[in-house]
Amino acid sequence: MHDKIIFGSRDAMWLMMNMVCAKLALNAIRVLEETAGNASWLLCIYLIILANIGLFLVFKLFERFPGKDIIDIAYEVSGSPGRIIVGLTIVLTQLFVILLFFRGYAEHTKIVALTVSPISFITSFFIICMVIACFFGLEPLVRLHSIIIPLVAVLFSLILMLSLPQCQFENLLPVLGLGADKIFLGGTLKLSIFQELTFLFLLPPFLVSFNKFKSAGYKFINLSGFFYLSLCLVFGTIFPYSAAIESIIPVYSVSRVIFWGRLIQRIESIFFMMWSLASVFFLSASMYFIIYSFAKTLKLPYIKPLIIPFAIIIFTITLLPQRLLDVTALVEYYYNLGWAPAFVLPLILLIISILFRKGGKQNAQT
């Protein structure tokens, strides 16, 4: 019992919050603006509602297999092939995601702060932190999230509040932005902003009960949705649509226009601190879960021997794209297809489990 890692729904919520919201410091808001125009806030509300519905259905699966993560469930439902397919899908998807965001964070750090440093030098910082975090293990990682991410959330809120004087409501007009079809049809694909929900599906064994798991899920979806919505509203009211789609890092652009007399300005330094913390935690947790999923999929007994090899692989694939614009092009795929592993995969498992009567009462009897 004492060796078993257990944490609460609040810890899980902060972990997941960062996994979803860390993208806010990069390009998520710009993608929403490009999709819905100045009605990105409407799209955001729509996505939060969709995510809640999706999560409700996904929880139906986990309710049938209490205390089991998605890889275990895949094994229960369809044996070893299912476990390997689901496990490798998660590993490969997250490797792709970590490639995008690791390189993204490094390149954007180079744009806004370390303009002269080589990209390999900047990525080295990140990878060292990721390796250290993985060596510490899941519990310190999760606990640190619940210390640091609330601080990041406060800094983020501070930036939003300080930028309020620059907001002009008229920039949100016309109300429907690029059109209702773009918001409610094309925008559905942008459910990918919650792609990191996949990590939540690995957490049930670490949470005491299904109710805590469920509560963490709903809390994080709605809280992170709130932050998305806030930034959409603030960014959308400060930047007219034409300028909004030009901005490479929306939060950075917002922090730059904060100007409260001579005393409060150049707030981007706070942004940079917030960004560094959120990105390091995001990347560390992502790497840990990739290794964890890989080990679990292939039934490897130890995780630590995999850390250095995975770090080398991640470091190498991160440097594969030749330029930031290549990464930006790949990010489009992420935002258009990322919803599939997060929502479709568990729903397929749910359908199979219902069809073949796996889990639920049957599971309890066995």
Partner: protein
């Protein structure tokens, strides 16, 4: 097992001791701890300085950037660079070190970044733009279009978005070289204070880079810049009022706001001055507004704060009433379309304090204060209409952002683009409504005029 609080369990997980009360596995071996310690310590190494390290005293701080049309068809870039030893305290005379506080330098270039690069061939310190307070375009360049430079500035992280945008009627080089302030040791502070003076004089627009850039790309508003120049009256020359804009506005004589930069009747050793606005259509300058028109511009966009105004006394045509006029709240603007033409209802809510009544007429009395209020409201309404007509009929550009209110009329961006606001704006009709209330009379509640002067005043009528 002892139950732990949330924070106890949060901080407890970093301990390396095995206890019975924590459900977590401590670090396995000494070797692991040593490896982790080495990795953590390795993060401190670059703190001593890495590729991007730049010492403060290795940098040359640019305070203002000027862009003129170049002699060879490119651009002429002038930088005003701070000389820190002359700005910082500790000199014999207290403030600065005694010498020139800034170094102006000019270079012919085809783009900003390359120009900045080349300047470093003859300056010892690397240029830093992070403290630049103003970017000055010459009128000639502004009339040709400055979009290409705006994009270059927006792309570069060193330029601050709150840098002021100025259009100089003389060359930008002359304007910048003229900024040798007497009151400030630091020209940077001069720019900061002078270009924000719109907050208390209301006759310059106080445009910053990010506002200008957003407006230049917008479909619902057009940008304006601060109009600057070198004053044309040399200290040894006679002043005159010929350059005032009062005749255009059918006024009998000029008021102090009826001037643009460069023409203010004053005598001073210090040449640079700002007054009025440079009006743009997209990225091209199409005209200018004088000080009074700029005040109306500020009122309509809701950035007017307070300023002193003079009006002819309605009872004594050779005397003036001075008021300090404030804007109570943001203007109420409603736009509707009739036969494809915009009809714009404007409601301005103003309040004023009496500063002086030269005639000695007792307008402060409760029954008479309304006379001044309605008279001044009428004058403001008439002059506001002149400004609006100038922008619609002459400049054909919506600098007031009425287009932002017109967006209420459509649902989608497509519909908004099809409406093509900038093309229908020149056909706008305006219904201004001015509400002005005089709140306070200053320290005098009524004016007591000596008998002799009252008699002479009556005689003159």
């Amino acid at each position: 097992m002892r139950k732990l609080s949330h924070w106890q369990s949060v901080f407890g997980c970093f301990s390396t001791q095995k206890t019975n009360c924590r459900p977590f596995k401590p670090l396995d071996s000494h070797w692991q701890r040593i490896i982790i310690l080495v990795l953590v310590l390795s993060l401190f190494m670059p703190l001593a300085g890495c590729y991007d390290a730049r010492e403060i005293d290795d940098l040359a701080y640019v305070m203002a950037i000027g862009l003129d049309k170049g002699d060879s068809g490119f651009i002429k870039m002038t930088l005003q660079i701070a000389i820190p030893k002359n700005i910082s305290g500790g000199g014999e005379k207290g403030g600065g070190g005694g010498g020139e506080a800034s170094l102006p330098t000019t270079i012919e270039t085809h783009s900003l970044p390359v120009g900045l690069n080349v300047i470093n061939t003859y300056l010892s310190r690397q240029l830093s733009l992070s403290d630049a307070k103003a970017i000055v375009f010459s009128e000639e360049l502004a009339k040709e279009g400055i979009g290409q430079y705006l994009h270059s500035i927006a792309r570069n992280r060193e330029f601050r978005p709150n840098m002021y945008v100025v259009v100089s009627k003389t060359s930008a080089e002359d304007y910048i070289k003229g900024v040798v302030p007497k009151l400030e040791a630091n020209p940077s502070k001069y720019y900061e204070l002078n270009l924000t003076s719109y907050k208390y004089n209301g006759i310059t627009p106080g445009t910053t880079m990010h506002n200008f850039y957003f407006d230049s790309e917008s479909l619902s508003i057009q940008p304006v810049a601060i109009l600057a120049s070198i004053n044309k009256f040399a200290p040894d020359k006679e002043m005159n009022l010929q350059a005032s804009t009062y005749k255009e506005k059918n006024k009998p004589y000029p008021f102090m706001q009826d001037f643009t930069a460069g023409n203010i009747p004053r005598k001073s050793e210090f040449g640079p001055e700002i007054m009025g606005s440079a009006v743009f259509s997209s990225d091209k300058m199409v005209g200018e507004l004088d000080g009074e028109e700029t005040a109306y511009y500020l009122m309509l966009i809701g950035r007017y704060n307070y300023a002193n105004w003079s009006f002819t006394d309605p009872k004594h045509l050779n005397s003036f009433i001075s008021l300090n006029i404030k804007q109570n709240r943001k203007p109420s603007i409603k736009v509707k379309l009739a036969d494809g033409k915009p009809i714009i209802d404007i409601k301005l809510d103003l309040e004023a304090d009496i500063l002086s009544i030269q005639s000695g007429e007792n307008y402060e009395l409760p029954g008479r204060i309304g006379e001044v209020e309605s008279y001044v409201s009428g004058v403001i309404k008439k002059d506001l209409m002149l400004t609006l007509n100038k922008c619609t009929k002459q400049f054909k550009t919506d600098i007031f952002g009425f287009g932002k209110k017109a967006k209420y009329l459509v649902w989608t961006w497509d519909q908004w683009e099809k409406m093509n606001w900038h093309s229908i704006f020149p056909y706008s009709k305006f219904n201004p409504e001015i509400s002005l209330k005089i709140r306070r009379p200053g320290l005098i509640i009524r004016t007591v005029v000596p008998n002799s002067s009252q008699k002479s005043g009556n005689a003159s009528q």
